[in-house]
Symmetry: C2
Subunit: 456 residues, 2 copies
């Protein structure tokens, strides 16, 4: 029996019918060369044999004296968690994304361990997919990605590999604390592990902090994001859109502009958001502001601890793509330099403060007086070498994150070999046809290539 951490408790509080708080990952595999046509069905049959569970996959929520705990589920039912499913004809990526859109909209059963593993057959061209869904109170996005990586092998000949719920237990990495949208808040609210009281207590504490910060000119920049359709209340249905983009192309653009890969990726997002909002006749006059978890290393490495979150104006008011990229590059550099002059404690406070207004509005349901950011753009490090699972090659992996009230779109990306893998999740009613963002991302990259004379 283990008490929930304050951050995990927050994820439970924030969850409601229109706002599920689980994260997901979509992995695309190709069949091994020698695989029979019913390869995926055989795989499903093998997976059903793995009935030995390792933590946290055997842990369910229980409540005692008003406190939430993780305890072992003694009525474990693998059929509920492992689901073998199929895509309808013609089995394109389009049908796969529709499948994930629907599944990611569904709340999970809180009386059971909060995870689901969907093995999906019926994809064209001898491919199959895995969609994994885990509650954010159970693992954060980065830990989920790490688990996905641990599931893979570099050896295409390895077989009999266990599924993620049966992986041998591993020592937890103690210095793996990385900010997700809410993890840092526990720092603001007291020491990690200490019990958070109730929603009103937390909201009151947040409001006090916010009001203090607003009187401090140093924090002034935090409160200046425009209002936009991205920042409305959300409904319960989601649309998931995902696509791979060439890392080489993105690197080439970065080199030509003297910018980082992350700068270029953000410029692609900025361009896509501008095109989308224009198509909806909803582009704010002022630039949108993105909240971006960043590496504080100067070498732009995507590995290692990244304990900062920056706010960056995306230049969506600028019509020229190249100008937008330079703007973003400068914004990110300024923000990192601000961090450079801060102590570790100041960084934690600043980060938590960035998130406070969003959390306050989420917890109270009140409309924001201060929009601090419009969209989350998150870059989660992924594997750089090809991975295999039971002989099947991983062709792509796409993060499926969380949509919240006032944050109707989340753009999370990861890297895999020479690919940048975008996973966009949004409220499909607040943001109609958001799948168009995929084309707009490509157009944004092409515009930057043209600006520096690179052939797309």
């Amino acid at each position: 029996m283990k008490l929930l951490s304050p951050a995990d408790q927050l994820f439970l509080w924030l969850e409601k019918r229109q706002q599920p708080m689980h994260v997901g990952g979509l992995q695309l595999f190709s069949f091994p060369d020698d695989a029979p046509d019913d390869y995926v069905a055989q795989l499903a049959e093998q997976l059903r044999q793995h009935t030995t569970l390792t933590a946290p996959f055997n842990q369910r929520l229980t409540s005692r004296m008003g406190q939430s705990y993780w305890t072992e589920d003694h009525q474990f039912d693998l059929e509920h968690h492992f689901r073998f499913e199929a895509l309808p004809t013609p089995g394109r990526i389009r049908e796969l994304l529709a499948f994930v859109s629907a599944e990611h909209s569904h709340l999970m059963d809180r009386e059971r361990p909060l995870w689901e593993f969907h093995l999906i057959e019926g994809l064209q061209d001898r491919r199959f997919a895995i969609y994994t869904k885990v509650h954010h109170a159970l693992v954060d996005g980065v830990s989920a990605m790490r688990m996905m990586k641990r599931m893979l092998s570099a050896d295409p000949n390895e077989r009999d590999m266990p599924p993620v719920w049966s992986l041998p237990p591993r020592q937890r990495n103690q210095d793996s604390s990385r900010p997700s949208l809410l993890n840092s808040l526990s720092h603001l609210l007291g020491e990690s592990g200490k019990q958070i009281g109730t929603v009103p207590t937390v909201a009151r504490e947040l409001l006090r902090t916010i009001n203090e910060a607003r009187r401090n000119p140093e924090y002034d920049s935090i409160f200046h994001a425009p209002n936009s359709i991205l920042n409305r209340k959300v409904t319960g249905s989601r649309r998931f859109a995902a696509q791979s983009y060439s890392l080489s192309r993105i690197k080439a653009v970065g080199t030509a502009f003297g910018a980082t890969v992350n700068d270029v990726v953000m410029a692609m997002c900025a361009s896509a958001l501008r095109s989308y909002l224009l198509s909806q006749d909803a582009l704010p006059e002022k630039s949108l502001v993105a909240m971006v978890p960043v590496s504080l290393h100067r070498d732009d490495s995507t590995e290692g601890n990244q304990v900062g979150m920056i706010l960056a104006a995306l230049g969506t008011h600028l019509s020229d793509g190249a100008e937008r990229l330079r703007h973003i590059h400068q914004e990110v550099r300024d923000a990192k330099e601000r961090y450079a002059s801060m102590s570790a404690e100041e960084i934690v406070n600043y980060t938590a403060l960035t998130l406070s207004p969003a959390c306050f509005h989420l917890l109270t349901g009140l409309a924001p007086k201060w929009q601090t950011f419009n969209v989350v753009i998150s870059n989660v490090p992924g594997p750089q070498e090809p991975g295999y699972w039971n002989g099947a090659k991983l062709e792509g992996m796409y993060p499926v994150s969380i949509v919240m009230d006032r944050l109707a779109l989340n753009m999370t990306l990861t890297s895999y070999c020479d690919q940048i893998e975008f996973g966009l999740i949004g409220c499909r009613r607040t943001l109609p046809s958001l799948q168009r963002l995929l084309d707009y991302l490509e157009e944004g990259l092409a515009e930057l290539e043209q600006a520096v004379g690179l052939a797309p």
Copy 2:
């Protein structure tokens, strides 16, 4: 804009994460003889063209001054409501039931019209299925069944038949009021159409009525059901089990015993419940009590208005099947005779009173002091002639009803040609392996046949 009726409002109040309040139907079709292999995909493409909606399929909930209304959805998104899906290999009925179990566990998006239509390919033997899901606040089970019937044609050569959401509007049958578990309550709480206040008001009114009734010896029989595992709090995941049984066999047993079809069906349920509870080591000493909507016509016709609900002890304490059937036959006859001496108003009051304790416990979340019944067994009239939809023959249709706190199992059945179609829905955590009930139903029928010398 139309105000919700008090009963419909109740369905919204009662809904929660572990207790969705939608009903469903599963229809099984065989391909027309001349159909190509991609027949279902072609059908899906045709259905996508039907973007003209008739009420109530275009109606969504809106809230104004604390009141709920039905209004037209001006942002209608057919892809959200009509879903083309597939079963995984090997595409047996088992995979179909697993699919429906999962889908029926999911809450619907309340910001949209509360219905979903799932067209399912990938079934063995050139068959396909339709699973329809509609919120009970939008239509009741009987209206849903009527719509399903209207969708069908007696002519196997008819093509270009519209889906249910595009059927031409029809005059509503005004005298079609039939009790569902909660509809009658609006009578108890005031005139239909009059506004119900709040949950506490309703609960207080129910409690007053119940306490008055308990002082009246005439109503004494209402409060004597035993406690059982069927009457625990439920969790959010469901198991659906469905099967067809031969109506001729059931009729033959009825004739041999001098009992009605409905008596035999209830005896099958009683036998199955007894076997299941024995297997779980959870059979109460006292007989389980079923709540059964019945026809008040003396000729046992399944058509026409049926405005009564009876409580019938199922004789689950008796080990002999024949004895149980005779017990049930007597129970049902006694209950009907009680109704025969009542005025229409008395019947309505009695029926509402039967439901009051269950509603009180549902609304307040309190554990029952008086268990009035353990399980709902509902028989919804179905079509007697073969039906076709775009040339595909309907092979079977199974109701998917609602599970509630303290009512962890619902047994709803319907008739189709020479079949009695059972649809069992239950909480899959409270009632493990409930699919075994299907075999136990068959064993119950076989035992009755043996008792009167009929070969199964």
